[in-house]
């Protein structure tokens, strides 16, 4: 296939060529960036919460006097445990995809505000909660009865805690996290164990690599650990058990108010939490598909026009010996050249667009592998779009050459 005659022909249609190339370039830039955004959100939606979501539900009550916390806890736990189907009812301060209750910056040294390691979620948990959550311990030990410390304000002054692997690798890269110390202002914590995965309450609000910066803190019930209860039941019973528990609250403790919005199964909480992300993914993909469609239609339109315009030349080429395949390949090669030019331009545009997005949104650089993938998609699209008009061109009979009009 000779490229020179094609280039010569394209030079006579500079404007139209440029337009197709521009369209491809814009499509390439938007395609790469939109897919990048989709991929990031998809990764977030897939976050491993580390807990047995299908077996868990959370029930929140408030409106009681803080001095009554221990009493309310005792009544609620007894009442909830007596509901048929409940495997366990325990105390927890926050669950993944529920409201965040305790995030704080922590440091390697006490009271050192300048060198934060990061902001972690402190999950306060009563006895039995670790087992109920179904967290997987990978190193260290489980909390023993005397590890549970009282927390009067927000956190215990001194406690042994479990951290996630993600946090341990961030705070002590390459080191064994067991026995390591860290501080939140003047409160001291020592790592006694590492869990595989445990998502924080609102992972979307943090970077993708910070969604599991969670510190599991064993705390004696009462004080700041009151009002939020974790229910565990068999997956098929959870919904029913939660309904029964919600209905039972006025009988168990008439003096508290049930928090309707925050008493849900963990499955529902997760579903709700990522609802907007799912819609956004759908929207981005929809726009990408529409845009590719419009681009393809544009190529079809312009190539059809070219074929009609060159009917006579095609006839002459056929008359002097070109095969149908030659004509077909001519248009295919022509499209390939234009699309390649467009992609080259589009890669530049993609990086400009990425730079702009990075400025306004907290996004990292566009990974390089998006570009060859985007190029392949656009080459494929171009070839698919040009096929129809090119086949029509190949079908032009040689006799056209002999006709004057």
């Amino acid at each position: 296939m000779q490229i020179k005659p094609i280039l010569a022909a394209l030079r006579r249609h500079r404007l139209a060529t440029l337009l197709i190339a521009m369209e491809i370039a814009l499509a390439c830039a938007v395609l790469c960036n939109a897919c990048f955004l989709v991929a990031r959100r998809w990764t977030m939606i897939q976050i491993n919460s580390g807990v047995d979501e299908s077996s868990l539900a959370v029930l929140t009550v408030n409106g009681f006097d803080p001095n009554q916390a221990a009493d309310v806890n005792a009544r609620m736990l007894t009442g909830l445990r007596s509901i048929p189907g409940v495997q366990s009812a325990t105390l927890i301060s926050e669950v993944p995809f529920g409201p965040q209750t305790g995030a704080a910056g922590v440091t390697h040294e006490p009271g050192d505000f300048k060198n934060l390691i990061g902001v972690v979620d402190f999950v306060l948990a009563g006895p039995g909660t670790f087992k109920a959550l179904g967290l997987k311990l990978v190193e260290g030990r489980l909390p023993q009865p005397d590890d549970y410390r009282p927390a009067t304000s927000f956190l215990p002054d001194d406690a042994q805690v479990l951290v996630t692997r993600q946090w341990a690798e961030h705070a002590w890269p390459g080191e064994n996290p067991l026995g390591k110390d860290f501080w939140c202002d003047k409160m001291h914590f020592r790592v006694m164990g590492v869990v595989d995965h445990y998502a924080r309450a609102q992972p979307s609000q943090y970077d993708l690599q910070q969604g599991e910066w969670t510190v599991f803190t064993p705390v004696v019930p009462g004080g700041s650990l009151a009002g939020t209860y974790l229910l565990r039941a068999r997956p098929q019973d959870v919904q029913r058990v939660l309904q029964a528990a919600r209905a039972a609250v006025p009988k168990i403790a008439p003096d508290v108010v049930l928090d309707q919005d925050n008493s849900k199964t963990l499955g529902d909480l997760r579903m709700n939490y990522f609802k907007t992300d799912r819609i956004m993914i759908g929207l981005l993909l929809g726009v990408v598909v529409l845009m590719l469609g419009v681009t393809a239609l544009g190529i079809v339109g312009l190539t059809s026009f070219w074929v009609a315009q060159r009917r006579k030349q095609i006839g002459i080429r056929r008359a002097i010996g070109a095969t149908r395949g030659d004509i077909l390949r001519y248009f295919q090669t022509e499209n390939f050249l234009i699309v390649t030019f467009g992609i080259a331009l589009g890669m530049l545009l993609a990086f400009v667009l990425n730079a702009v997005l990075m400025k306004f949104y907290e996004l990292p650089h566009l990974p390089l592998y998006y570009l060859p993938v985007g190029a392949l998609v656009l080459w494929g699209l171009g070839q698919l779009a040009v096929l129809g008009p090119a086949l029509r061109a190949a079908a032009v009979p040689p006799v056209v050459a002999t006709r004057s009009v």
Partner: protein, 435 residues
């Protein structure tokens, strides 16, 4: 002449239906997508209190200790402490001023058919209602005297009034909040500024408080604060900070009727900061801001990131559609080179041909605009089904309707310019010869 060109355009468009349909479709898709997102953006970045927002200001001061202070870079705090709020309120330097914060109260209905429930509340001083122009369905707001006397009075929203009293006049009736009896003095009318500009920590659209009680009373009763608390130094935690704690958790709004008064008020804030520094309460040099409502919303970037992203995406899509339309029009106009050649040979000027072709692209734009409008209606209907708090507000208003057509017409004319110019360059003789 226009009528003739219009007729020509219709004939020409009808001749090649596929190409015409493609152009109309491209314009319609681009317009539909961008109008949907622009409408959402328009709704979200709209003025919450048209006519009033220009005279309402949000003073910011910086009472933090000197730790971490960077001259020129550190921003003043987004809320005020109890002490500063009270000082500024009592200084009465503005035309009107109100100190407020958000909360949650347990409503214990008198009739037993309703279970107790939680309702968003606003604890505020009396000027709130006059300053923000809150309309009243029944009764009236409380006054400064009730604030002073810590009276147990409440204003409720019409929504809560419907729920509790079936929409009847409930003024004078008792309302039990957090175990304390309050007397209802007023029921607000239809009032829901979007966004909820006066307390952005509760960042919600289309959702206003159901209960309003005097700030002084709320503190007596020990009502729970709900919103942002920002402490420094050895400020204790907790959601309802102590009045002396170094924590900001209240919003202070002022009404200043002229720019001169605003400038004077800013000077007052600087003097106040200096005075507090001299007293040893403040450690930083005066660091103040005085923003009006729209500036305040802008500063806080109220419009959700997703919505901005969607708008940019849609505009990018419109651009692709436009380039596509330019290509298709070019094909269409050049195909008619011989026809245009004949017209040129018969004496039509280049200008006349240009006008004719632009009318044709305008027609495509109008039809595309109608298609786009239809798509925008479908798009907005889809937006309203989203779970986001602003979703219910997404409606096309007359201004946006007009913008749609303007955008469609402008876009298609823009798309027609280049192809029309190119098509006018035909040499009449050459075209006549080849036939």
């Amino acid at each position: 002449m226009f009528g003739y060109y219009f007729d020509l355009a219709l004939r020409s468009l009808a001749r090649n239906k596929v190409l015409t349909a493609l152009m109309v479709l491209a314009i319609a898709l681009g317009i539909g997508a961008s109008m949907t997102t622009l409408t959402v953006l328009h709704v979200l970045s709209g003025d919450p209190l048209p006519g009033r927002s220009g005279t309402l200001y949000y003073p910011q001061i910086d009472p933090q200790d000197s730790r971490g202070y960077l001259p020129g870079k550190s921003k003043p705090m987004d809320q005020v402490t109890w002490i500063d709020g009270m000082n500024l309120l009592q200084a009465k330097r503005a035309d009107r001023q109100a100190l407020m914060t958000g909360g949650d109260v347990a409503v214990q209905p008198g009739n037993s058919t309703l279970d107790p429930f939680y309702e968003d509340a606003r604890y505020t001083t009396a000027d709130f209602f006059t300053m923000f122009g809150v309309p009243f369905q029944y009764g009236h707001a409380w006054g400064a005297a009730e604030d002073e006397a810590h009276e147990r009075v409440a204003v409720i929203s019409s929504r809560l009034n419907d729920k509790l009293f079936g929409g009847g006049d409930s003024t004078g009736k008792a309302l039990r909040l957090d175990g304390t009896d309050f007397r209802i003095v007023g029921v607000t009318g239809d009032w829901s500024p979007n966004p909820n500009f006066y307390d952005l920590n509760r960042k919600s659209y289309d959702e206003n408080e159901g209960v309003f009680v005097p700030l002084s009373t709320s503190q007596d009763v020990g009502m729970v604060h709900d919103g942002s608390v920002d402490c420094w130094g050895n400020g204790g935690g907790g959601n309802t900070p102590d009045h002396n704690a170094p924590c900001v958790w209240l919003q202070f709004w002022v009404q200043l009727d002229s720019p001169a008064k605003a400038a004077a008020y800013k000077t007052f804030l600087v003097h106040y900061s200096e005075q507090q520094k001299a007293l040893g309460r403040f450690q930083r040099p005066p660091n103040v801001e005085l923003r009006n409502v729209m500036q305040w919303l802008d500063y806080n970037q109220v419009v959700p990131d997703d919505v901005r992203l969607q708008t940019w995406l849609a505009l990018g899509f419109l651009l692709v559609c436009l380039v596509n339309t330019v290509g298709l029009m070019l094909a269409k106009f050049l195909r008619r080179a011989s026809e245009l050649g004949v017209r040129r040979a018969l004496g039509a000027s280049k200008k006349a041909l240009f006008a004719q072709l632009l009318v044709e692209s305008g027609v495509v734009g109008l039809v595309g605009g109608m298609g786009g409008l239809l798509l925008a209606f479908i798009g907005l209907w889809l937006v309203r089904r989203q779970p986001a708090s602003y979703a219910a507000l997404a409606h096309l208003d007359p201004a946006m309707l007009f913008t749609t057509f303007l955008l469609a017409l402008g876009a298609s004319l823009l798309a027609g310019l280049l192809p029309a110019w190119r098509a006018c360059q035909v040499a009449p003789a050459l075209q006549l010869k080849s036939n």
